[in-house]
Every structure is written in structure tokens, then in C-alpha cells.
């Protein structure tokens, strides 16, 4: 096919005027629609973008967007029925940045409702399928983004979002690259909150270069998001090169290679570690003892925050509505019972419980302390190691029909490898290995995106 190009090739050809954009764009839409029928990756396909798409760094590169990131004028539901019909009157800051650089927003991708899940099966709409095996899940919660990036052989990048691993997991399952930046590097303004102290907007792409490119565009301080970091803009594609950093050592946390992790996955990650060793990057086994506490702490904080975030959805001002003929308490309950899925209800109940007086100290406040300890432990390791390397997911993507059999706790446990760095706000990248659906996870210290991009690039381009 004539537009079967990488993002890098697309940009070069566009720069040199070698592509008829209108022809490209209509071909793209045709292919996208066809592919989407197969994969159910996008909930909405929209192509209403105005303005000159020949300027900026992206030259009209198609960008899909996870449903929980607000795009002005395009229905944004965060995968939940309760927001059906909600059309944001503003763009998320990352969308403004993409548009400024002539990225073409082409639609909203399916996800677990509000990000509550690991397989995108908790979607209020369609469940995206894994292009590598359509009987299996694409992963979650940014499943639609990873599925369409993997399934569509055209230049395209997707904006995802991770709270506890929602970029890494589907990227690993669909064998694409998922980059989750440091908490606060990318503005969350316009992101429909799951857990504000954990949410990070990131990128899913076919190559490390693609993710580094889009990160360079969306990163940076934003006065609309108080938690953004005041850091100078950086071109992360500069780290996409074959040079090997000298005298560095990677940490291999032994807790991330326990018997609970599928042996085929462990073996494949070890192969990658040995490859890196062969090109001169040393490794050493280390220990992340706090890992066992990170998962419960994460779920308590995430659920406590999300239970407050979800309070605003009550059918009064936007989204799902009914005729309000009764008192507001009954009306709110009616709308919420109808609009929220089972997992959302579970998290509202658990999250509310964890912050009730009498339990608050034992759960919520203690979890906050654990988070500090987890960060401290990472910081200590990063004094010694350039980055940490491990598997992304402990399992292969389950079959969609089997997901029902997985208990909520088993499902939460499958986040065991991605949750600790997410809880600590560390940047991470999942890069495909040579085995389908197995991702290599690389984690570095706060604001060291350059390091994870570097290592991922070396693995991606291994000979």
C-alpha cells in the first residue's frame, strides 16, 4: 500500500511535499474505518479539524485520543455510559499542543470505564480486540489506543493515559511502544480524572521514535494544571540514536522475576538483558522490597480519589439525564445506578470506605505514607542504576471469554509490575520483545525520560 509508511518517513515526505495530503487523509480514513470494524478500537471517528495541516512539527499526522482526554466538540465519555452525549467545550492542553503542531485528531479510543481495568473489558461501549489474536484482549485501560496503533499499517500515533499501568499494559499485549512520562511532565488539564495524583497522559506508537516525538510536543508546564513541572522543553527524539551510553548499569529487580511471572516472559526479558550486556550495558540484580506494599497502597489511593472524582456525575449538569421529578438524592442515585458500570460502582464503594472517618487513618493516610516510602526506595536505586528493567506484564493477554472468570483481586494482581513505578510517578516505557505480547519495561528516575527512550531504542533496533 502506498501509505504504508513509518511516522518518520511520513514526516520527511510531507516536509518535501511528496504526499498529496487530501489523498492520504481519505485513504487513511477508509483504512481506519475498515480496521475499526474489525478491532472496535475507536468509539468515535471524527475528522472535523479545521486549520492548516501543513505547518508545525506534525504535518497533519493522524492522532487518535483515548476517550478520557477532552477534545473540543467531540463527544468524550471516558468509556462511561454516564457521560454519553457529553461534548466538552474546551480542548485538553495536550490536544491544544497537538493541534498547534498540526496533528490531525481522528477519533476517540475505547477504554475501560474511567480507566478502571486491565483488559478494556470494563468499557461502557465496545471492547477493543487484540490485533495479534482477536480472541484475546488488547489490554487496558488504553486498549483502544494500543489496538489501533498495532492494527493499522499507516502513520499514526495515539494519546493514552496511565494511572497504574494503562499505557504499558496494552502496549505490551499489542506489541507496540507505550511511553508513560513522569507525573507532572504532561499537563492533565482536560483529562477526565481517574486518580489525579496518579494520572499521566502519555503516548502509544509503533516505534520508540513515534512516542518520543509526540511526548516532545505535549510535555511542559501548564498554568492550568497546578501539578505540572516547570521544566524546559526538550526534543526527546534526540535520544533515538544507536550510540550506547558508557559506564552505565541497569538494575534488575528480583521481585519482578518471581515464579508468579510467566516463565516464557521472564526468559524473554532475560534475553533482552543479555543483549544489552552484549553491547556494553551492564546489569546487576537489585531489590524493590516495597513492591509488595505498592499494590495495596496504589489501589487505596486510586479508589479514594476516584470515588470523589466520580461524585460529580449525577445527571444534573451534563451526560446521562432523566426527568428530575423527585428529590435530588433519589434522582442522583437513579442516574448513577444506571450510568456506572460494575467496576466503577465497586471502586466508589471501596474508595468511599477507605476515606471514611475511623478507617481513613488505617487505609488512606497509611497508603499515602507507603507511597512516600516507595518513592524513596526508587530514588535510592536510581542513585546507582541508570534505569530498571523488567517484564511489563506477568501474563499473556487472556481470551476475552475468559475475563469473566478472573476475580477483581486477580485482575488487580496483574498490575503488580506496572503499579509501583506508576505509584512513584516514575517515567516508564514498554517496548516489544521478539515474542508477541511480551513487553520489556524500562523505568527511570523522575524526569529521566531520555534514559528510558535510549534503552528502549537500543532494544527496538537490536540486530
Amino acid at each position: 500500500m502506498k501509505y504504508n509508511l513509518s511516522v518518520k518517513e511520513f514526516l520527511e515526505k510531507r516536509k518535501n511535499g511528496e504526499i498529496d495530503y487530501n489523498d492520504f487523509y481519505s485513504t487513511f480514513l477508509t483504512n481506519l474505518k475498515r480496521k475499526n470494524k474489525e478491532l472496535r478500537a475507536l468509539r468515535v471517528i471524527s475528522h472535523s479539524q479545521k486549520g492548516d495541516l501543513n505547518k508545525g512539527k506534525l504535518y497533519g499526522l493522524p492522532i487518535s485520543v483515548k476517550d478520557n482526554i477532552c477534545v473540543k466538540g467531540v463527544e468524550s465519555c471516558a468509556g462511561s455510559k454516564i457521560l454519553e452525549g457529553y461534548i466538552p467545550p474546551f480542548d485538553a492542553s495536550c490536544i491544544s499542543n497537538v493541534k498547534k503542531n498540526s496533528g490531525a485528531i481522528i477519533g476517540k479510543t475505547n477504554q475501560d470505564e474511567f480507566g478502571f481495568g486491565t483488559f478494556s473489558t470494563n468499557s461502557g461501549f465496545d471492547i477493543p480486540l487484540n490485533p495479534l489474536d482477536k480472541t484475546r484482549v488488547a489490554g487496558g485501560s488504553s486498549g483502544g489506543s494500543a489496538a489501533i496503533v498495532a492494527g493499522l499499517d499507516m502513520p499514526h500515533v495515539s494519546l493514552g493515559e496511565s494511572t497504574g499501568g494503562s499505557i504499558s499494559c496494552p502496549s505490551a499485549f499489542c506489541s507496540v511502544v507505550g511511553l508513560t512520562p513522569t507525573y507532572g511532565l504532561v499537563s492533565r488539564y482536560g483529562l477526565i480524572d481517574y486518580a489525579n495524583s496518579l494520572d499521566k497522559i502519555g503516548v502509544i506508537g509503533k516505534t520508540v521514535y513515534d512516542t518520543a516525538l509526540l511526548l516532545s510536543i505535549i510535555a511542559g508546564h501548564d498554568e492550568k494544571d497546578f501539578t505540572t513541572i516547570n521544566k524546559k522543553a526538550e526534543d526527546y527524539t534526540n535520544y533515538c540514536g544507536p550510540d550506547v551510553p558508557k559506564k552505565i548499569k541497569l538494575g534488575v529487580p528480583k521481585e519482578y522475576f518471581s515464579d508468579d511471572i510467566d516463565k516464557r516472559i521472564r526468559d524473554e526479558v532475560w534475553n533482552s538483558i543479555h543483549y544489552l550486556e552484549s553491547i556494553g550495558i551492564d546489569y546487576e540484580e537489585c531489590s524493590l522490597k516495597m513492591t509488595r506494599y505498592a499494590l495495596p497502597a496504589y489501589y487505596i489511593i486510586a479508589m479514594a480519589e476516584s470515588s470523589t472524582n466520580l461524585a460529580k456525575f449525577c445527571g444534573l449538569r451534563y451526560g446521562l439525564q432523566a426527568d428530575p421529578t423527585e428529590n435530588f438524592n433519589n434522582y442522583f442515585s437513579k442516574i448513577r445506578s444506571k450510568g456506572f458500570g460494575e467496576e466503577a460502582k465497586r471502586r466508589i464503594i471501596l474508595g468511599t470506605f477507605a476515606r471514611m472517618s475511623g478507617f481513613r487513618d488505617a487505609y488512606y493516610l497509611r497508603a499515602m505514607k507507603v507511597r512516600t516510602l516507595v518513592i524513596d526506595e526508587y530514588k535510592r536505586l536510581f542513585k546507582k542504576y541508570y534505569a530498571l528493567i523488567s517484564p511489563t506484564m506477568p501474563i499473556f493477554p487472556p481470551k476475552i471469554k475468559d475475563v469473566k472468570k478472573i476475580s477483581p483481586i486477580q485482575c488487580y494482581m496483574s498490575d503488580i509490575l506496572t503499579v509501583p513505578p506508576n505509584l512513584a510517578g516514575m517515567p516508564m516505557i514498554s517496548v516489544p520483545s521478539s515474542v508477541p505480547s511480551v513487553g520489556i519495561h524500562i523505568v527511570a528516575d523522575h524526569l529521566q525520560e531520555g534514559r528510558i527512550i535510549k534503552i528502549a531504542y537500543l532494544l527496538e533496533n537490536r540486530c
Binding site: 466538552p88 460529580k312 449525577c314 435530588f328
Partner: protein
Amino acid sequence: MKVKIGLEIHVQLNTKSKLFCSCSTNSENSKPNKNICPTCMGLPGSKPALNKEALKKAMRLALALNCSFPKAIFFSRKSYFYPDMPKNFQITQYEIPIGKNGSYQLKNKKIGIWRVHIEEDPGKLIHKGGTIKTAQNVLIDYNRAGIPLCEIVTAPDFSSIEEVKEFLSGLISTLEHLRIYDPLNGSIRSDINISIMGGSRVEVKNVNGIKAVEHAIKYELSRQKNMVKIGKKIKMETRHFDADMGTTVSLRTKETEEDYGYIFEPDLTWIDLTKEFISDIKKNMPELPKEREKRFLKQYKISRSEASVICMNFRLAELFERVAKQVDAKLASKWLRTVLIGVLAYKNLSLRTAHIDEKKLIKALKLLESGEITEKTCKELIIKLVNGEKFDPANYVVEKRLKKVADKKELEKVIKDALKENKKAVSDYKSGQKEAIHYLAGQVMKKTGGRAEMRIVMERLKELLNSI
């Protein structure tokens, strides 16, 4: 009878924009739901951005109330479902308020200030065609949602309505002196905790304004006293004050404290109150009422009680200082504090609500000071000013022939004429009927058309009569 009263006061700070967005705070003069944006409407994806001006203003108040500052603050989410709350949680402060452990000195007592913190105001519910209990429809205006509120929580140290009144008027004067509150557009809402004789605590919620606080306490005290009298137990409950009826009605009985499930507000980070930041606030602290009172004693040589009364009313103090630049301070103090405020109070007005032409007021006081008009005429002029009549004091005095007989010779002649023409009264006085002097004085005032100063007429009459 032992009475314990504590107050939780919510003051709207006079910032230009709301606490977490750039919407205007001028909600009173706008159409409903005009001053709103994604943030104050809590639209999905919106985020709060702190208005530092509100923080600074609240810190001034905390300083004025002798509170101590923490090293850093953060905000919390207080969760409860209510239609006037766009997010169904309120961003407020819980664990670490801006100020705590402060105090306020009344004349005879110190009132503990437990905490001072900032939070966002909810929207406003309008109960169409009825009350909170009877209205068929409720409208919601979110213009108010997100306006910065400063909450002041006192210890239950008040034991009478008088103490509460003294505190509240002092607090309002302090707020105005700090330039953080606009009494015309900003509201003050109080929750009042009242218990008598060690009984259960009753909370009266959302009492609007200062007068209403007085009425609510008065009603609640007598209600509780009657309960005790007839041997009934006072329940721990929350009551609503009906301003029209002047009564309180039960909203709900409290089994336990409400559980708001507080968590940290994760969209706002810790905010350091650095030494530099605090010292900057201290440096820019406006003069407080009590400091002003001290300065008035020195600068204007007026009495302590005069200075105290003036400084308890910010606008009066401002007016006084401007007037005292042109008129003798003691005269200004007396006439503004007693006559002007008295006339205003009689008309149910205040310096906030009445528009008084200050230049004309100063002209009138100058005419009095220079002896051109009598005190009676001066008061007449002030009444006209309060009524908002259009006139020039100097011209008016001439036109209405109100100019005082200031010329000593002229007055002397009138007095002597009166003595000549009223021989009987003179002899009555000389024979011991001292009250005859009043008749003589009356004759003098009649001849001058009331333009003579009674005090001077009496003095001169006495002298002349005694010399005969």
C-alpha cells in the same frame, strides 16, 4: 444561666476572580449562570488553579487574629452530595488551615480563634415561590460557585449576645481595614453553636448577615430556656434560621458528626508559606482598628472611647480622617460620631448604604466651626445631606436667613432691647423668680429668628441681669 456560643463565620473575600479560576466574583450584578467556566462548573477534565490573591488576603486576616502559620498548606476535598456543588465535593482545608490558635480581644474578654482557612463557595439555590420546605421548584445559580470564602472558627467562648455583637462588629471593621472584604457585595454567613447550662450543642446553620445572628441567638436561647423550663431534653441537632419569621426550625438531629470523607486535593500541590512570603504579608499589613485607635489618641487628641467607637466602623474612621484634615478634630469626632451616625441610624441607614456628599458635609461643619451657624442649623443641614437633597450649605444658610447672629454688638443690642421691653420679667428675676430668665431668652431668640446661640444668650443675660 451559663451560655456557651461559638461561631463559624464564612466571609466572601473581595478578590476580582474566583478561588480556582478566572471568572469574575461580581455575582450580584450578573445574570444567573453568567460568571461560570469549566472549572467552577466542575466539568470533566477541568482543574483548579489557585488564586494567590485569596491566599494572601486570608493570611492577612489570620495575622490580624493572632494566628500562627504552618510551614506549608494543602487543600482537601470535602465530599457531600448537594445540587449547589458542581463537583459534589468542596475544595477546602482540613488538617492544616492557613491560621490556627489565634485570639481576639474584646473589652473584657479574650475570644479564642481555633482556625482560619479558605475554601470555595458553593452555588446558590433559589427556592422558587416558597421556602426551603415548601418550594415546588429549585433553581441553581452557579455564579457564586468558586468565590473565595474565608472561614473563621471561634472557640465557644461567648457567653452573651452582647459579646457576639462586639466581636462581629470588630471583625467586620478588621476585615474592612484589611481591605479583604466588600460589605456591599460580599456576604457574611455564620453557623452558630449554642448550648445552655452544659446541655447539648445546637447548630444553627447559614445565618446571613450580622443582625440575623443576633436574632437567631435570641430566639434559640429563649427556645432552649423554655425547653429546660418544661423539663424537656435539648437534642443535639442542626437547625435552620428562618430570617422572615425570626425563628429556627429543625433540619436534622445529629447522631454523630457528619462524615465528609476528606482526602487531600490532588490537583493542588503543597504550597510553601516561606519566611519571605510571610514577611512580605507582614510588611504590607494595613493598619488594624486597634492600632488606628491608638494613633487617633495621639494625632487627634480625642478621648479613648471616642476613638474606639470611630475605629469600630471602618467607613466612619475613614470619613473622620478626611474631615479632620479640614475641620477641628474634636468637633469632627463629636459631630460625625453622634449627630451623623444618629441621623443615619434614625433613617435606618449606614455609611455603607447612604450616599453623603462629603464636600458639603465639610462645608456645614466649617460653618459651625467658624460660628456662622448654630448647632441647631448644622444638624438641620446634616439631615438634608443624609436625605440626599441637592443644595449648597453656604447659599442655603443665606437664603433661609439662618446665619447666626455672630456679631457681638448686634446680639448685645438685641439682648438690651429685650431687657428694656420686658421690665416685668426683669423685676421678677431680681425679686428671686430666676426662671424669668428663660422668658427673656425666648424673647431674644424670637427677635433673632432663632439664629443666636442659646448658650451665649443665656450667659450674657445672666451677666446683664446681675449687674442691674
